[in-house]
């Protein structure tokens, strides 16, 4: 049984008589300890799938199961200990008037977990931020520094599943490498499962065992890592994405 199962998921938004079919009948399943990627056109529904899993987007049709159980509504505390999300937009997801210390220790306080002091220091260290950043506010950080705080926050509760929405697209090459290495190390050590969105096929190739290509809210094609690297796609859209990523190939 897969750990994450998304079955025929549709998410529609109705705004002023206009129906937006953000996600249309998408199915995917991710095994425990697997890393699964989502790629595709901007606006094709990738973030919406992650948000639906977390209860932040309406499920119009279909089912989402974690460990065989349909996700509860509202998701609740047990869910948030198991599943954490890193949002695409680190600006919007950090509270502007909370110091990093507060941002990182709050999840622990909510769940009644002690030892927050040591854990905050450790979390900053894990994502490569100096300990003296602890009392800074988000506006005192660069874009990439904020993204690292968002990743550190998601790790505070030691979840089993991480939903990662463009976790490194705001990061430079060196911090991206450190972050990807950190994520892979944690996946090994703690047996984590990832569902991650990225526009960078090289990042997907490095991180993911399988990838789903999306366009216009629909699943276009699922590829294994070997099929991706071996250019064995069958749909035109997946081919187009691949061809446009020629500068990311080994040896390019």
């Amino acid at each position: 049984m897969a750990l994450i199962e998304v079955e025929n998921l549709s998410v529609h938004y109705g705004t002023k008589g206009q129906l937006v079919r953000a996600v249309e009948c998408v199915s995917l399943s991710v095994d425990a300890r697997e890393s699964y990627g989502l790629v595709g056109e901007s606006g094709s529904g990738k973030s919406t799938i992650l948000r639906a899993i977390c209860g932040l987007a309406p499920i119009t049709a279909g089912q989402i199961r974690i460990g065989g159980q349909p996700v509860p509504t509202p998701r609740g505390r047990a869910f948030s200990r198991r599943v954490q999300m890193v949002f695409q937009d680190p600006y919007a997801s950090l509270h502007p008037r909370h110091t990093l210390d507060r941002t990182l220790s709050e999840p622990l306080a909510i769940h009644g977990i002690g030892g927050s002091d040591a854990r905050v220091v450790r979390a900053l260290e894990d994502v490569g931020l100096p300990a003296n950043f602890r009392f800074r506010y988000p506006h005192q950080l660069s874009g990439g520094q904020r993204q690292r705080v968002a990743i550190a926050r998601a790790l505070m509760l030691e979840p089993e599943i991480l939903l990662l929405d463009e976790p490194t697209s705001a990061l430079d090459a060196s911090v991206q490498a450190e972050t990807l290495n950190l994520l892979n190390r944690l996946r090994d050590e703690r047996g984590l499962t990832f569902l991650m969105v990225s526009h960078d096929l090289a990042v997907i190739d490095h991180m993911c065992d399988r990838v789903l290509v999306m366009q216009h809210g629909r699943a276009v094609e699922e590829l294994t890592r070997d099929q991706l690297a071996g250019a064995q796609m069958t749909t035109d859209y997946a081919r187009t994405l691949f061809d446009a990523s020629a500068d990311r190939m080994l040896g390019a």
């Binding site: 606006g43 991206q176 990311r248 080994l250």
Partner: protein
């Protein structure tokens, strides 16, 4: 011809935790060309871009021995003169698109506001112009997006709305801070070709801040490589992938590759002397 010249730019923050020197003596000049700025997170790219618009909030301070845009001394200009330049002649696409859009105002109203109030365009004409701008950046269903609030847009749509908004007044200088980081490769290529067209056909100057080295190498004319608030290397963009500075080489080595090994990616050993 020089559009912008910056000499010995410094940006300093005096915080409770001590002094942060975000930019430490950056100099460059820009013609009607595409200048890339790359460098690791926190190296001062955004602060350099914002300084040109004098958009550094206190306690941040800007100092420069020279900062001149098309004959205007930006260090001496009054706040009123700066307001007249901002958005009109010098535009900046911020790294945080949703943060710089008004969350409680529809996208369409934000796009047409300037055209109606400043340029005195009719509501209908402004609407048409905004739709055109959205179509240019490959937004599907621009009518729907005009009626949407920023939170109803995807990450990449927000980014493209920002680009459309900044390009509507036809600026002479565009500072684009990570403008395509949320775009898939095919949409990204379209957006870059628009920017490219503006530089070539209209003679706009472009400062393109990005951590995507491969993209900058392909797209820009020249590149500044920043490290800890300084420019460590300036080179022709086409030579970026063959850069010789150990820092630039280090950055290039950290990149994952399609079909590459899944072993941990090489890190970057930062040598203290690069910051000197």
């Amino acid at each position: 011809m020089t559009l912008l010249s910056v000499k010995d730019l410094r940006v300093t923050f005096d915080t409770e935790a001590g002094r942060v020197e975000a930019v430490r003596g950056v100099s460059f000049s820009l013609g009607r060309e595409r200048l890339g700025i790359v460098g690791e997170s926190g190296s001062g790219k955004t602060m350099t871009g914002r300084s040109v618009l004098r958009l550094i909030r206190p306690p941040g301070r800007i100092e420069a021995t020279e900062m001149v845009f098309d004959g205007t001394d930006l260090m001496a200009a009054s706040e009123r003169e700066m307001r007249a330049l901002r958005g009109q002649r010098i535009a900046m696409v911020m790294q945080d698109p949703k943060y710089s859009l008004n969350p409680v105002m529809k996208v369409g109203a934000q796009l047409t506001e300037g055209l109606r109030l400043r340029d005195g365009m009719s509501a209908k004409a402004a609407h048409g112009k905004a739709i055109e701008a959205l179509e240019a950046v490959q937004i599907r269903g621009p009518e729907r997006v005009m009626e949407a609030y920023p939170h109803e847009l995807s990450g990449g749509m927000g980014q493209r709305v920002m680009i459309a908004m900044m390009l509507i007044p036809n600026p002479d200088l565009l500072i684009a801070d990570e403008p395509t980081s949320a775009l898939d490769v095919t949409v990204q290529a379209e957006v870059l070709s628009i920017l490219d067209g503006l530089v070539r056909d209209r003679g706009m100057g472009l400062i393109f801040i990005s951590h995507d080295l491969r993209l900058v190498g392909r797209f820009c004319d020249r590149v500044l490589v920043m490290y800890k608030g300084r420019v460590v290397e300036e080179l022709e963009a086409k030579n970026l992938m063959q850069a010789e500075h150990p820092y630039t080489r280090g950055l290039l080595n950290c990149l994952p590759r399609i079909g590459g090994s899944r072993a941990p990616l090489p890190g970057l050993d930062r040598a203290a002397e690069w910051a000197e």
